[in-house]
Symmetry: D2
Subunit: 361 residues, 4 copies
């Protein structure tokens, strides 16, 4: 079968930090192919390689380097659109494009908490995808859809708590040490963070305390019923390039033994067909037995950035349990998650004209 | 009055990281003067400037650079001895020297938790100094004494909680981001910490969970009655030179308003004569109103490293209150605290032959 | 005599990184007192503490925190004005204010290379100050004047070469490792510099290759005769907060012994009255004998940031001599140098109505 | 053909920083398979995963994790031995094992400069391999051999100069900014290098000034005739994990245009069969056109760590030419180079019983 079986995709905000990560991860993707790169007024009309100040390793892939950046307010031909836009820029484009029939998988926080927009993380809440049917019915869309992924700091929290829902999660406390790439580019000035920590990240704690409950909730009828738990979050910026580390304390209704929890993590896979999706890691969650792990620099690349690493599970005299978890914030926590979300949609027939077998149908 | 009014002091472990900080802080001290520097076999017999790989700014003070390093097992003439020894090396020298009549103010953890050794922090528990009388009586010492300061990470915790004891402290949770200087020299390999965090520091959590309760306790008869509270600590190493940052969550029996707590911090001074001791900062605790402070690099030098900075006090849905606190770990958390402890002893007549007025009596 | 003997000074660009350093260094200055803070449209009209995102230790001095920021295009009352403006913003204000009768000591590069503007560094070219007479005559100014200090990376180069001019400096090669504070704030994004070096700084090499020759030149008649030497510079950014380190190679016409050069450095003081100016360090240049110094973090604070530290002098098989030098880039290399320049002008009667003895005359 | 066609290899010093890199790079190697791991007394007898404090990403490969570490003074069965020993530990083992019939490819500096030991870098001096015949004849060895790779900082220098030898290289000046991994583990204390540069690395400059000339020399009869050029090196340590950056200045007898030099770099491949060896990168040298590259973090992984990146070629008023070059110091500069050296030996029939086609013959 020819190359043309790949589904053409567009990247909104293609020149930014997360946009670059999308382009990097989609290189050699078996189903999708970057066909359109879309940027701000400053970038549009220029070749991607000129418009983007590439901040990842090496340079942009050859296949994308020569693409012309299109303006944000244009019309696009790709059925699937990934959005790496900042919140402010996402409005009204994401909604406009979904209404125009595109499947939009977004990393922006703008529409994340709308009742009919699923906050998808395939391993833990693939069933929320059915909300797209509600969305389409309510909005009169046929091929269009809008699905979101969450704030990047939530990832290690919900990935480690999903396998524990069976024990009754009641109280969740999260203290983060977040990588600078979470702030985009140029993002955090080096004068603010070298030899330093910054114990504040605007808006982050609020997101953690709400989005996590929506993600861990259950689809009941036409709506997500949030997890009935209380979350307290404190967010800190650390001089780390990539990888958000969280100290998590949790109280559970049941009292599983520590090794039972570890087995729950190591055996966690998510529902079919998630484990067989192209970007799904072999192990969504891995427990590290060394006493000083996970560490951002050494564990962020696990599972090509899609595996969440956990360590230091121990009893807590206040909460019952505490541990440390880590996810790669721009892969599992942003672009990689959006791509996995789109793969789940493709596998479930939500992308018009594309079927996984035979691919462009 | 001549220079000779200053009390000669000795530094055990003078060439190490904390030893150097003692020497730096005692430069131009109004009461004390470094007269003896004491080190390991490797160092002894050499001039201090040659034996010490000076790791602080510039080089060692001229007055100390030329002193000959004495061996650890010798006899010393200084009535007051500061110990910057690692735990293993402190045994049996600290106890031996106290028994021989020296006042020993130690930073080592070896004897910290002995029932008759006060874990002093003048602003918050100056009354514990009376334990020295118990100690002397029990051990048959006349001029000798052994007082300790605590683990460095406890400092921002107990400095911020002491003013809140009036509200009934019940549960304390601490998540730290600790500076590399806390591990001494050579300490943390750079390959382990640049672009990284390490979520484990051996023995640290246990110290935090016990020493803090002893420090915040009350002297009752001949013994310290520990604070009746529960502590849960999680310790992380961060790529920061100096300054331990802690995210503290606390539940209080009473429910003071946030601004009442802030006033309690800003007005906290400690009992007389502590505020007038040479190394006491004008404000032991300061509350910073900026939303992103305290930060290690920008706030560790407050009050010449002796002021604890607090920020981000807010309500916590789980504990009631949460905030961020910071202390300079090798000044307030080590050498500076030991010196303040010794000043408190001097001011209270515990150092034989030395009185603050007229100084050498 | 009352406090009012201090000369009121204004800071242009007071809220930026260098502006903050001016304010920090002028705190408790014996002659000058910050009376006016001047900023961009965004800042003007607000209290300084609100308008400035203070990036140095602690916060702004109380005496300045409450000053209202004035707009750049206003008229000012202070006889002496320090300019911390970026190049683009300096035009036309610096020239306008000098023409209006103010003495302007600028850190901006805009007018630095004008023939009648001295590029002052008191220890090495105090005689260039006479160019102000030429400037006043040519431009019809009476009390106004414009003097500049150089690019910050030149400082360790010219401070180390000035004492060697007696041997005939012929070829100078400089490879820098420059601190991030040299780029101002927000300046270098942390994503660009943590775990990294950037081997390019726009415009920097050209400045080094020309300004250094003007500074090391001699005033001959009405003009500076540049040093007749060739300079080759390569500039690199390093993950260091403050302190520019340079590897310097130099060929000299004469062949002094290494210890003769070291003596020339250690004995270098600059002409009277420079050594007695308030901001002059005891030693403008110090030679460090340890084999691994100078180092930015440990030596930048020497002489309160005004002493240049040199080390590792050795023979070079190509140039003859090579060594390493370091200066604090925002103190000696920017604000501190401007203040020293102003002190030299004050001491020489160039500031109308101000004399050092009796101060406001 | 079965798995057993892979040649069993042993790693001396397998638990150290470079030993780990060997193990990482040999994972899935098409010709070689790690069969023996050899370490110090402290490590021997333990499983590799327990004995090694793994400092690279993730953990050791499963196939090696369970190997028992053998003591250094034992006998080994692998025909090919890679040595990652520090200089002191290499004596007498490397020579002893070569004499015992093993081919030893070493990264240690111990025997590097012996007249009959080739300092191999396949792309630039594959012809030096013939020195092994001289070595065998002189020492009476039949299957044994000892080949070395050079100091890691030389790599970007010789890789960039080899394509310029045709123009007559006369003077070479190198100023380095070297990564901390070059010092091994634990290596550089974090207190020495965060927010800092250290302008000294013991023994490094001497190695650069001699080894480079041997490597760029020519085999003439039974000996290497060193390149007739003069080298001046200054070495600095930077807070960078991996990747040695060098500012190189060079004078050439001929005066090629800048674009001619760039073409020479981009077209450089090395002699056959080097380009087809498994670890040879597609491009040994790449020229980057962006004005601020190469950068360690962004370019060290080029060609899986085997490509040297060059940038900023420009004219120098003193030397004629200057540029910036970068190589990954523990891959191209250490383990990767040793492996490429062994592949060259294998391809040329120097490893007894192994032929590339049919592999174990």
């Amino acid at each position: 079968m020819s190359m043309s079986v790949k589904l053409p995709v567009a990247i909104l905000g293609a020149t930014g930090a997360v946009g670059q990560r999308f382009i990097q991860l989609l290189q050699d993707h078996p189903w999708f192919e970057v066909a359109e790169v879309i940027g701000s007024e400053r970038s549009s009309g220029r070749a991607y390689a000129d418009a983007a100040h590439w901040i990842l390793d090496g340079g942009p892939p050859d296949a994308v380097a020569g693409l012309n950046v299109k303006p944000l307010d244009g019309d696009f031909t790709s059925p699937l659109i990934f959005s790496a836009l900042p919140k402010e820029a996402a409005d009204p484009h994401e909604m406009r494009l979904a209404a125009a029939g595109h499947v939009v998988a977004t990393n922006a926080s703008l529409n994340r908490m709308l009742d009919d927009v699923p906050l998808l993380l395939p391993e833990i809440n693939a069933s929320h995808l059915a909300l797209v049917d509600v969305q389409r019915a309510a909005r009169g869309w046929t091929t269009g859809a809008l699905v979101a992924n969450s704030n990047c700091t939530i990832m290690p929290v919900v990935m480690s708590l999903a396998p524990l829902l069976q024990y009754g999660v009641e109280k969740i406390q999260v203290i983060s040490a977040q990588a600078i790439s979470g702030a985009g580019y140029p993002g955090v000035p080096s004068l603010d963070i070298i030899d330093n920590m910054v114990p504040y990240i605007g808006g982050e704690e609020e997101k953690l305390e709400t989005e996590s409950l929506k993600m861990l909730g259950t689809l009941s009828g036409d709506a997500i019923q949030w997890l009935d738990a209380v979350v307290s979050a404190s967010c800190n910026r650390a001089p780390v390039i990539d990888g958000h580390l969280v100290n998590v304390s949790v109280s559970l209704r049941e009292k599983p033994a520590l090794d039972e929890i570890i087995r729950a993590w190591d055996n966690f896979r998510g529902p079919d067909p998630v484990p067989s999706l192209p970007s799904a890691p072999k192990q969504p969650v891995q427990y590290l037995t060394q006493q000083d792990r996970p560490q951002p620099r050494r564990d962020r690349a696990a599972g090509k950035g899609m595996t969440t690493s956990i360590g230091r599970l121990r009893e807590c005299p206040i909460f019952g349990y505490k541990f440390v978890a880590l996810s790669h914030n721009t892969i599992r926590g942003a672009a990689g998650c959006s791509i996995l979300n789109a793969e789940l949609m493709a596998a479930n027939g939500y992308i018009n004209g594309f079927s996984v077998n035979g691919q462009l149908s």
